[in-house]
Structure formats: C-alpha cells, structure tokens
Symmetry: C2
Subunit: 352 residues, 2 copies
C-alpha cells in the first residue's frame, strides 16, 4: 500500500524483500511454483509482497526470454467502418478472455503496407495473427511463415494458410433474392433493372458476384454484363459509377446490390448531390450491416457477416495447430430494412 517507490517492482526487489531467490519469486508469480516444488508458505509470502507492492511482470522481459509475448494481432484494412470495427471489438473480447493482449492495426489495403506492418508485429514477437481482408494474403503468409508465426486469414482467403470467410456466395444469393422479391412487389422486374456496384478482383467480390448472377439469372432470366459495375472499394469510385449511370439513364437502377458498406458510402456521396426524387422507389441490397444504413429513406436489405463466429473459428483453427490451408465458410444473415440489431455497444457498462 504505502508504495512510494517511483519505479516498478521487479522480481529482484521481491527477492530481496522476501529473502528468496529471484527464480523462486519468478516461479511463484508466473504460477509454475507447484511444478518447482516451492513451499506453499513461501509462495504465500511472496504473493503477499507482490500484491502489497503492486508488482506486475515486465512483459517485454518475459517475452524476450520465452519468445512468447502474449500479443495477438489483427490486421485490418481500416478501422473506420462498422464491419471491421465490430470485428475488432469481437476480436478484442475474445483475445482478452484468453488472457492475451489484442493488437489491432490497419494497413489500408496496401500490399506493401500489409507486409511491413506484419514485420513490425513480428518484431514484437506476437504469438498469433489474424489477417482480415488482406489484399495479398499469400504475401503476408510468407512473411509469417519465415518468422514461424501462426496465422489465419479472415474475410478474404489465401491459398497458403487456413482461412475463415463469410459464405459470400450464399449471402449474395439471399440478398439478391430478397431485393428481387421486394422489387417485384412494385411491378415486374427486367434484367436491366438490377445492377451490382462495388467490389473488385478479390475472392469475396467474385463469390458475391457469382451468387448475384446465379440468382438473377434464375429469377429474371438474364444478366447482361453491363449490370455488373466492379468499382473497387473506394467511396469516391463508387459515387462516380452511380453518377455515370445517372448521366446515361437520367435515373438510378430500380434496384441494385452494393458490394459493401464502404461502397454504400459512395451511394451517400451520390445522394448528397441529388434531390430526393432521384432515389424514389429504389430498392437497395448491401453486403454488410450498418445500423444507420438500415434506415435510409428507401428499403435497404443488408447482410450481416458474423465476425464474432469468424474470429472464434479462427482461434479454433490456431489452437488445432497446423491445420491444412482449408477455407471455412461462416454463414451470414439477411437483415431486412429498418432493423436495429444489438451489438457490442450493448455490453457497455451504463448503469444509470
């Protein structure tokens, strides 16, 4: 209690105070003391001293010695997005419940940045790495491999390491079917009335586009290539695509599938520049859930990816150690318009 000491206590300080050796103190404080046949009384004494002086282990020293740091990394494209930030939230909770320390970093979908960030994490001797939405998962894999770092891909699969991803094909099918059915309530839907915006040359986009096309062909009989507009993942590019369509047609498509909430932000940019009439009657599907996106002034069907389950599965794979580079699918859920799901925010302490 009466702890005037400015510096943090070390096992050596406790060793002097207790009269025991540093290795005994260490054993007591890291729990291995039974194995080392330390007397219960000695352990108690040291424990008490440790509490009294607010001892906490220097995790850098421990990490250096044991070459395990207790750090688990999550590599994200960006934080600033509900899908990834809620993944970060789940990740953090799960890592902490395992007694480790989460390290969440973003790399802006830049392959070089990705590799460099991972190098940095490796320099801190992180124990495990979750690679979420990496542009170049296999490039990152090689970096991890070289350092002997266990890792899984989340969200976008790699070919060299185990991956856990959303079932994009099924999710896209559900979403496409939902918006078609809803649009048909307003009258017959032609193939030209249903577009897809966003996404690019990655696995998730491919699968989503495949699901979209399969359902569209089945229900509407055709899917002209022009209806697929892979604009990449930036809001600006997506906005440009909407703008281009609008220039050409004088209106938006009656209904469309937006590849992600980031692309949906592109739609917001478009909307900001056009009056309400522009989007009267449109039906939108968005592959990602956002609580405010769900309440836009037109029906927005959304797909909520189960990032919590994906992270959990990721841990299961890492725990199983050295699994084959298989891709595991996690089923997302369809969220109808005007739906406010509960989330991590509900775990906030807020007693009042």
């Amino acid at each position: 209690m009466a702890d005037i000491s400015k510096k943090k206590a070390t096992i050596y300080d406790l060793s002097i105070l207790s009269g025991a050796s540093a290795s005994t103190v260490s054993a007591v404080l890291n729990g291995s003391w039974r194995k080392r046949r330390i007397k219960e009384a000695t352990a108690q004494l040291i424990q008490n001293l440790a509490n009294e002086h607010g001892y906490t282990a220097n995790l850098q020293a421990r990490g250096l010695r044991s070459s395990r740091s207790g750090l688990v990394g999550l590599l994200l494209p960006v934080h600033d997005n509900r899908y990834f930030s809620s993944m970060a939230q789940s990740f953090e909770a799960q890592v902490r419940s395992r007694g480790q320390c989460p390290l969440v970093v973003s790399a802006c979908r830049d392959p070089d940045e990705e590799r460099q960030v991972v190098e940095t994490l490796i320099s801190y001797s992180i124990d495990e790495l979750f690679i979420a939405g990496a542009t170049d998962p296999d490039g990152v894999h090689k970096v991890c491999e070289k350092a002997g770092l266990k890792h899984v891909n989340i969200d976008l699969p790699g070919t060299l390491a185990p991956s856990v991803i959303s079932d994009n094909y099924e999710g896209a099918r559900m979403l496409t079917q939902a918006i078609i059915e809803r649009a048909q309530e307003d009258g017959p839907l032609l193939p030209d009335d249903l577009y897809l915006f966003g996404g690019r040359n990655d696995h998730a986009s491919h699968e989503r586009i495949r699901g979209f096309r399969d359902v569209k062909r089945a229900l509407l009989g055709a899917d002209p290539d022009v209806c697929i507009q892979p604009t990449g993942y930036s809001p600006a590019m997506t906005a440009r695509a909407f703008e281009a369509f609008y220039e050409g047609h004088g209106k938006l498509p009656r209904t469309f599938f937006v590849n992600s909430s980031i692309n949906l932000e592109g739609l917001m940019r478009f909307l900001a520049l056009h009056p309400h009439e522009t989007f009267a009657g449109i039906i939108v599907g968005c592959y990602d859930y956002d609580p405010f996106g769900s309440f836009l002034p037109f029906p927005v069907f959304m797909v909520r990816q189960d990032s919590e389950a994906m992270i959990a599965k990721g841990f299961a794979i890492l725990d199983a150690d050295r699994g084959p580079p298989i891709t595991h699918l996690v089923r997302p859920t369809l969220v109808p318009p005007r739906t406010a799901l509960t989330g991590p925010l509900d775990a906030l302490k807020d007693i009042e």
Copy 2:
C-alpha cells in the same frame, strides 16, 4: 535472398558474418553509428548483410534494454462506433508517421476495466498513452503516474493530466441553433417541442446540455427540465426513453438533440418498432457524425468532432513534456443533413 534460416537473424549472427562485434552491428543498425565513430565502409557492409538476411530488430529486447518500447496506446470505450473508430484511424496514422507502433484497446467504459487494461499496457512498457472517453480519467491517471507514463486525456477531460476535448459547449450551441432554425421554417416552435436525449453525468454531456439550454432559452424563451433526458450512453436505454415519451404523448418531440451517435442508435431501435408516420416532420440533431446517419429519412444535423486535430494536439502536448493539466478545446463542425464527408476511407489504396 537465399535465406533458408528458419530463425530470425540477430545482431550476433550479423556480428559473425561481418566479423564486427555485436555492439558495432547494433550501432550500425540503430543509426547511432556516426556517434560511435564507425567507419562508413563497416557500416555499409553490415547494412548490406542486414538487408540480405532480412534482419529486423527484436523490439522486445530493445524495449527491455532501453525501457522504451515504441508502443503508443489509445484507450477507447468501444471500437464499434464511427467516432471512435475514426479516431483510431487518425491515431494509427499519426503514430506510424512518428515511427512508433499504435496499440488501440477498448475498455467498455468500465472504470475497473480501464485501469486494468492500462496496467497491461504498462507491462508492455508503452511510451505514451492517449486516454479517450475514459469514465474515470483521474483513476487512470494515477496508474500512469505511478508507472511514470506520459499520457493525455482525449474527449473527456481529467483534472490531473492535460486534456484535449471537443468544444462541446460551442458544438452544442451550433447544433441547437441549427435545429431550432430549421424547425422554425415549419412554424413556430414552443419550448416543449425541443428535447435532448442521451448523455449522463460526464463533462461532455454537461457541456452539451449547457450549450443546448443556453441557446434554447435564448431562442425559445424557456427550457423546462423535463425536456432534458439524460439516458446514459446505451442504445437500449435511449430507445426506452423515446418509447416512454411516445407512450405519454402519442408522438415524438417535433425536434430533438441526441447526445451521441450511440444514442442515435437508440433512436433506430425505436424507429424499427414504429411506422413511418411516427417520425414524419421531426428534425434531429446528433452530436457526432455518421455518414449514414446523415441520410436518414428526416433531417439530421450532425456535429463532426475533429478527432484528427485532437490527436495531433495530444501529441503536441506530450512532446512539450510535463504540461500543466490544462484542458484544450478543439472546435467541431456542424454538418447539415444529407452530407457525405470524406474520411480515412479515401486514403485506401484502390487503383482500379
């Protein structure tokens, strides 16, 4: 290139390869070699070897020795919210541009959790800590103090350490004035027509409420206490408050001020349970910006807090070292309805 070695190279490996001593290698690789009067040629030789073998310093070892880790922490209430996640994004960019490694963690607004998380960070010898939206900044301060850890409060001020916060009073004034003026376009506004929902017993809420009340009294002549509904920060509680009002009045207030985007999620939960007519004609102000929140089917004025500037100011304070526990205000901006601001997402690499 031909690097078959499974283990990471150390300065000792390079020391053998180069024929120089480990200390020389160390000096070369950490840049202090000029000061140590190492020959340019020797430095070159070692540099080349290091590149060839993909050497990266073990930052735990370095941290242990130098008691500086290169880690900078950011403590958040939650990730899963555009305000905090965009703060995380700015933070990360700024930390990295300073050559350090960002460590973003959340503590769920739980004072105990906050202190414990900070203890953990301290065990990793982080160099600096940004405490954002802490429930108990001064409690955290004491923990930092004891460990000699430099820190600033962001968003919610403490009395013991320097703080950088949003100018909540001014922001609330702007927002209140904006929604009043907008509402008055639809006819005269009575004091009972303007409510405030959300927030609790913290500095930010107090200031926002104060700004709200001052403007409301000035423009509408009065502000009955019943118009202030501090529901705390949970969506569920906020939804309950809307529900209660609706029960009592058969409608929502004509216009209201929502204390944060988390509370705005509470409004979404309410909306999900009620038809469109329920919110016909309402005008909303929300203290926080969310790109989708800005496009809800009724006018939503938002306040965008400048988290980037707040982080930058935080670094300036830390760099100035040992500043007095002064509170610095950063002015937020008013965002009119249907506005899509650009953000960190626009920095995403997305060439296509």
